[in-house]
């Protein structure tokens, strides 16, 4: 099974909490987020902690203000949803070129 690694597009869902346990973002029911592993789309320290995970796996990830250049301590519950190889264009650009298509209103499809 494909694992999170360099030059792969990784789709994740997550719950992000601050040190007080407040939920800052929750994508479990909404749109998932995709990034190019090894690119600059999300923080390298976050990416590093996802390395080697496979679709369906879950991990709790911590980011610290002192170590990871975030404004406050954060913790994430991350689920790996999908992994695919990045296209050459995506590898050059550093981010996924295809968004998630959603029918936002009757007759209108948006790409997030």
């Amino acid at each position: 099974m494909m694992q999170v690694g360099k030059n792969r597009i990784v789709t994740i869902r997550y719950i992000m909490r601050n040190s007080r346990g407040e939920v800052l973002e929750n994508t479990l029911d909404g749109l998932s987020a995709s990034y190019l592993h090894g690119g600059s789309g999300i923080l390298p320290s976050l990416q590093g902690q996802l390395e080697g995970l496979a679709p369906g796996e879950r991990k709790q990830v911590f980011l610290y203000r002192d170590r990871d250049a975030v404004p406050e301590d954060l913790n994430f519950d991350v689920w790996i949803e999908k992994i695919r190889e990045a296209t050459p264009g995506e590898q050059t650009l550093g981010y996924p070129l295809t968004g998630v298509a959603v029918e936002c209103a009757p007759g209108c499809t948006c790409y997030y």
């Binding site: 494909m2 997550y14 992000m16 601050n18 800052l24 973002e25 994508t27 909404g30 749109l31 987020a33 789309g41 999300i42 923080l43 976050l46 679709p55 980011l63 975030v70 404004p71 406050e72 954060l74 949803e81 999908k82 695919r84 190889e85 296209t87 264009g89 050059t92 650009l93 550093g94 981010y95 996924p96 070129l97 968004g99 298509a101 959603v102 029918e103 936002c104 209103a105 009757p106 007759g107 209108c108 499809t109 948006c110 790409y111 997030y112």
Partner: protein, 353 residues
């Protein structure tokens, strides 16, 4: 109050530009707010906005143009509770026709505010598309991308620090040829002077001059796309007897043959086999792709189809093929993800030509 609308494709750097511009404005004693048009602002961006003291609102149930009232409500809420001097409103990456559907309505219904539009483009992506002529998108996505650029009064060539000097020169030449009638501004997020210049351009935008709306014939624009069912499916194929690769090949052929047998016009039918081999079936008469497959106990298949029919019918066709493949080849197929729909065309709340 100033309301700066930002449009631009996925990855064009709109959020980072808002952060950088907000920092500058805050340093100069101004209050800013942000309305995003996305599900979250993607990971820790929202936290950075909070820590910079930039209050945010979201239009989460769709694009600005189809949810104009929601956008207006969020602007009103920010305005009443935070009294910002400047609001940045960042539209979803696939939005276009912003002048007719958002900018002009805002100008009409909020005459006291100064409304501008900036279109962002990743300079490296522009270089790949315009200079290297690399095909990166489906035609429909390229259409949206080109329309976004066409609509720009101020067009930001963003992330120019990622281009080599010769690439930047070549891109400048192409941009001046194609978009010489626009204000072209180069910047990147660490370039404080560049960000300041963008803000200056926004200040200089004539609030009275009405920019031309895009020429988009919605029925024409939507018709071609709306007729095609989009169907994407990821599958894992298991076979303890080593038939996974051969089973995958037969499945691909069977799906193609069923589409032909039912005379569904084919936009495209592509497979990614084991994450590396791309197999495309043509709509025009052509020999079916053939390749050798060795024994394997597992295989993966990503199906990507655009076919002129109902999404439900296409989905049913694929299900039939899977069932038959499992029965005939003794393989087991697990569906990892599926996406099936028929795109329409936007139905904006307002459209002021």
């Amino acid at each position: 109050m100033q309301i700066h609308l930002l449009s631009g494709f996925l990855g064009s750097g709109k959020t980072m530009a808002i952060q950088a511009a907000s920092r500058l404005l805050i340093e100069n004693g101004m209050k800013t707010g942000v309305v995003t048009n996305d599900q979250g602002i993607r990971l820790v961006d929202a936290v950075f906005f909070n820590h910079l003291g930039i209050p945010g609102r979201q239009v989460t149930n769709g694009c600005f143009c189809c949810n104009y009232q929601d956008l207006d409500d969020q602007i009103q809420s920010l305005s009443e509770t935070e009294q910002p001097d400047v609001i940045f409103a960042e539209s979803v990456g696939s939005c276009t026709d912003i002048i007719a559907t958002v900018l002009k309505p805002l100008r009409r219904y909020r005459p006291q505010s100064r409304i501008t539009l900036t279109v962002f483009a990743d300079a490296l992506l522009l270089h790949m598309l315009l200079v290297d002529s690399i095909v990166l998108f489906d035609e429909s996505v390229r259409y949206i991308y080109d329309k976004q650029l066409e609509e720009a009064g101020i067009l930001i060539l963003n992330k120019v620090d990622l281009l080599k000097p010769d690439q930047l020169l070549a891109l400048r030449r192409e941009m001046h040829k194609k978009y010489g009638n626009k204000i072209l501004h180069e910047q990147h997020v660490a370039d404080k002077a560049g960000i300041a210049r963008w803000l200056q351009l926004l200040d200089q935008t004539d609030p009275v001059r009405v920019p031309p709306s895009l020429e988009i014939e919605y029925p024409v624009y939507g018709a071609g796309e709306a007729m095609l069912a989009w169907f994407d499916q990821e599958m894992e194929i298991d076979s303890p007897s080593g038939e996974a690769n051969r089973g995958a090949l037969k499945l691909m052929q069977d799906i193609y043959r069923k589409i032909k047998a039912r005379s569904y016009p084919l936009g495209h039918l592509k497979f990614l086999f084991n994450g590396e081999k791309k197999i495309s079936y043509a709509s025009t008469p052509a020999p079916e792709p053939e390749f050798e497959t060795g024994p394997a106990t597992s295989a993966t298949l990503l199906l990507n189809a655009r076919v002129q029919t109902e999404p439900g019918k296409l989905s049913q066709l694929v299900e039939e093929s899977i069932r038959e493949a499992e029965e005939k080849s003794g393989i087991r197929i697990r569906i990892r993800s599926v996406s099936s729909f028929r795109p329409g065309y936007p139905a904006p709340t307002h459209r002021m030509v």
